[in-house]
């Protein structure tokens, strides 16, 4: 530790001119405990040294008329670096421990197997084994200290863990061997055998297992590392008409940030100048770069591909979408699905139970075993303690969840917690909202069928002028179509909206009518020859509207909400998984039927009011289905909340992160299929792990106790038990890592 005053850094808001510097500095300096305060005007930070509390400093700045907050130095990537450095240190320590223990254990084992007997008969043998015993004690101290200290500490707390088992197991073997060496006379002649090699080997092997496990564990957090790595380190902001490069943690809200092509967007914001294409695939999984113009949103962590932009920071620091995603993924990675609870409740009883079995096994050998019974009893008791592995049980669920949730995040799927993960894997019925989920959610003019009018352009001009100001979603489509063709709008008089029918108005002396067949009938417009055409348009999931000028039909304008290009294949993927796919929509029956037919959904409900969506969910649940609901998170919130799993579909990164069980960051329904696939794969992985860990312990412990001995004459050596135990937890972590290879998308 360096003997230095502690220092902290504050970010100052509202300091507009250089003269503020002195004011702020003196305000801070007059706070008790401050040794010095130095402000950097370019990046609006003050470095304060001294023992004053941050809150006091902030108060002082505020009383001088500015806002301040503490600069959070523990940035995510720093934490990550520190963690990796600590892990690396620990890894080296474990390998060193392994080396020390094995360099005693392996020669001893070779001696016992091929060269001599490990029994104590002569005085010379006693002396040499005493030296070996002391060397083993050295190994126990240097390489195994953490097991013994950990065991003792948890014992004091009335709890027991793997350390307890290792400490008691290796301790028993060593004490027995020392008794053989120091006072052989208390033991029968045949039982005078030493097990120093077992103690040394077990400590070595378990340290080796822990080292390898640590390495494997590092890989389980790859996804979160990748997300954290997306953060830019610095940002160029414009302050006082000058460009300054500052750390991203110093960017304030409303700062104007400049991003050049090839650079990462440092914080969230709204474009104020320039246009570009931005690659958002790292967050959304959407491969095609997104065009950004003035007033579009940009998101931290995404990559600017082509143009230079200036944007105004709207969310900085912990509030950016990326920071929230990282936070959420981290949280979800550490939450446990219900399937893991059994293992948890078992682990509370596991270690003491193993200790009891170990004692019982020793008693059985003492009472019924062959001579030398006491040696057999010791070996079996030790082996039972060593082979039992509570950590394999403990690791089974968290390791898979860690990898699975991370893998999902890579595909742009944010899973809220372990429970959502597990339920998502069991969904039997999936309700899809039509608008915005299956379809783009933005209607477009698809057809203009001319009747008495002569050209599309004039029809569109009049129709658009008429619809200008109307808030109907179909009106928007027509206006957009007119805008695309650069058609000027005309002035409208005596506008009148007729609910459920359409609109009427006058324009340049003509009377205009725009609406459905009902409106036309009421206004005596002759539709002869065109109703058939309108019907066939409706069958194609389009909404036909009649447009009449001066009482005569001018044209039919059809508007449709196009189906997303990959909805069909994504729905196929869901159905291939055995999931019943159901469509809900507020649209009319005809449109709904046409869309359902096109995307291959046989069960659909049309004209469903938003408030009835939730009752549809309930209905399906009452039929015993596990219901997933996919919608846009705003209109569908009640249904999303009621469903067993709610999937909120977002477009881009503009997502309601807090609202749903699962958030799909990209608009494509493949995200949904990915979410189901990842959760299924993760659950399968967890089951494999749990099964493996249970079977390992259920089979291993009795064999170690010697149940095979009466029939087959097999009794495990404690060394083999040590190896088995070390590699059982390694296997669990490695199996979880297999999930990383999981490919969610069908290629």
């Amino acid at each position: 530790m360096k003997n230095k005053e502690p220092s902290q850094q504050l970010i100052i808001e509202g300091a507009g001119c250089a003269s503020c510097v002195g004011k702020i500095e003196s305000a801070i300096q007059s706070t008790a405990g401050v040794v010095s305060a130095e402000m950097n005007f370019a990046d609006r930070t003050v470095m304060v040294s001294g023992t004053a509390h941050a809150n006091e400093l902030i108060k002082a700045v505020e009383s001088a008329g500015y806002n301040a907050k503490l600069l959070d130095n523990a940035k995510a990537d720093q934490i990550l670096d520190e963690k990796e450095a600590a892990d690396w240190e620990y890894y080296k320590k474990l390998l060193r421990d392994t080396f020390i223990a094995l360099s005693l254990g392996i020669p001893l084992m070779i001696y016992g197997l091929f060269i001599g007997e490990m029994t104590v008969v002569t005085t010379t043998e006693r002396i040499s084994w005493l030296i070996v015993g002391i060397a083993t004690l050295g190994v126990m101290y240097f390489s195994g200290k953490h097991f013994y200290v950990g065991a003792w500490n948890s014992f004091k707390n009335h709890s027991a863990n793997m350390d307890t088992l290792i400490a008691v197991g290796t301790g028993t073997a060593w004490i027995y061997s020392m008794v053989v060496v120091l006072s052989p006379d208390v033991l029968p002649f045949l039982a005078r055998h030493v097990y120093f090699e077992a103690t040394a080997m077990i400590i070595g092997l378990i340290n080796l297992g822990l080292a390898l496990e640590l390495k494997a564990r590092g890989k389980t957090s790859q996804a979160i590392k990748r997300l954290i790595g997306l953060q830019a380190k610095t940002a160029i902001v414009i302050r006082d008409n000058k460009e300054v490069e500052i750390g991203i943690e110093q960017v304030l809200e409303n700062d104007v940030v400049k991003v050049k092509p090839g650079q990462k967007v440092p914080v969230d914001g709204e474009v104020v100048d320039g246009h570009t294409a931005i690659d958002e695939s790292m967050l959304t999984g959407e491969p095609i770069p997104v065009e950004k113009n003035v007033s579009d949103q940009v998101v931290a962590g995404t990559l600017n591909k082509s143009g230079l932009i200036l944007f105004r920071a709207t969310r900085v620091g912990k509030d950016t979408a990326l920071a929230q995603i990282i936070n959420m993924v981290k949280k979800a990675q550490n939450s446990k699905p219900p399937i893991g609870r059994l293992a948890d409740s078992i682990s509370a009883y596991f270690v003491p139970a193993v200790m009891i079995i170990s004692v019982l096994s020793a008693l059985a050998w003492l009472n019924f075993g062959p001579e030398p019974a006491i040696a057999f009893a010791t070996v079996s008791a030790t082996t039972v303690l060593i082979i039992a592995c509570p950590c394999a049980l403990g690791l089974a669920t968290p390791m898979s969840v860690m990898v699975g949730v991370g893998k999902a995040a890579e595909a742009g799927v944010l899973i809220r917690n372990g429970e959502a993960l597990q339920t998502a894997s069991k969904v039997t019925a999936m309700i899809l909202d039509k608008t915005g989920t299956i379809t783009e959610g933005a209607p477009k003019v698809t057809d203009i069928v001319l009747a008495n009018a002569t050209d599309e352009k004039s029809v569109l001009q009049l129709a658009a002028s008429l619809e200008n100001g109307s808030e109907h979603p179909l009106a928007e489509a027509i206006l957009e179509s007119a805008a695309l063709k650069k058609i000027e709008l005309l002035k409208i008089q005596s506008f009148k909206a007729i609910t459920g029918q359409g609109v009427k108005a006058r324009c340049e002396g003509k009377s205009l009518l725009f609406g459905n067949a009902k409106l036309m009938a009421e206004e005596d417009v002759d539709l002869t020859g065109f109703t058939g055409r309108a019907q066939s348009l409706a069958k194609e999931a389009k909404t036909p509207m009649y447009f009449a000028v001066d009482g005569e039909l001018a044209a039919i304008i059809a508007v449709a909400d196009p189906i997303k290009h990959d909805s069909i294949s994504a729905i196929k993927r869901l159905q291939a998984n055995g999931i019943k796919v159901i469509m809900l929509t507020g649209d009319n029956r005809e449109t709904a039927a046409a869309v359902a037919l096109k995307v291959g959904i046989s069960e659909f409900y049309a004209e469903v009011l938003p408030e009835d969506k939730a009752s549809k969910v309930k209905e399906l649940q009452n039929l015993g289905e596990i219901v997933g609901m996919t919608g846009d998170g705003i209109n569908d919130a009640p249904a999303l909340a009621l469903a067993d799993v709610g999937f909120a579909i977002g477009t881009g990164t503009d997502v309601a992160i807090e609202s749903a069980d699962v958030t799909l960051m990209r608009g494509s329904l493949h995200g949904l299929a990915d979410a189901i696939a990842v959760s299924k794969a993760t659950l399968r992985n967890i089951k494999q792990n749990l099964f493996g860990a249970f079977i390992y312990n259920i089979a291993g412990i009795p064999v170690a106790a010697g149940v095979l001995y009466p029939v087959f004459g097999i009794l495990l050596s404690p060394v083999i038990a040590g190896a088995a135990m070390a590699f059982s937890s390694l296997t669990v972590v490695s199996n979880a890592n297999r999930l990383r290879l999981f490919k969610s998308r069908e290629s």
Binding site: V359, N367, G394
Partner: protein, 117 residues
């Protein structure tokens, strides 16, 4: 032989009593700011009594390098926090209602209990 059997059964009885039947008593007074050391496989204190209705600050210092000690979870409160070696990590709990809140590592090897009374 008889002695060995008696010793064995007594050991079993002791294990059952010590690990399962014994109910620990928390000694610390009600505090809203608690320091917890993570070292050698345990949290100390492992049993924390806190008052209800007030936000609680827990300051964890992890002195244990084992990867098990890395994550601190309080499932009931949906809290999961990464603890850095040789660093203090502050966790602020919301005002609690009366009850018991377990905290543990990711593998449930390190265990502790917060009792809001």
């Amino acid at each position: 032989m008889l002695i060995a059997n008696i010793v064995g059964l007594a050991t079993i009885a002791l294990i059952i009593w010590w690990f399962w039947l014994y109910k620990p008593e928390a000694k610390n007074a009600l505090k809203t700011d608690v320091e917890v050391i993570v070292k050698d496989g345990v949290y100390s204190p492992a049993l924390i009594n806190v008052p209800t209705g007030k936000p609680i600050q827990l300051r964890f210092t992890r002195l244990d390098e084992s990867p098990c000690a890395e994550m601190l979870l309080i499932p009931e409160l949906e809290i999961s926090e990464q603890l850095l070696v040789n660093k203090e990590t502050e966790i602020v709990l919301p005002a609690l209602t009366i009850g018991e809140y377990k905290f543990h590592c990711q593998m449930n090897m390190y265990k502790g209990l917060i009792r809001a009374i």
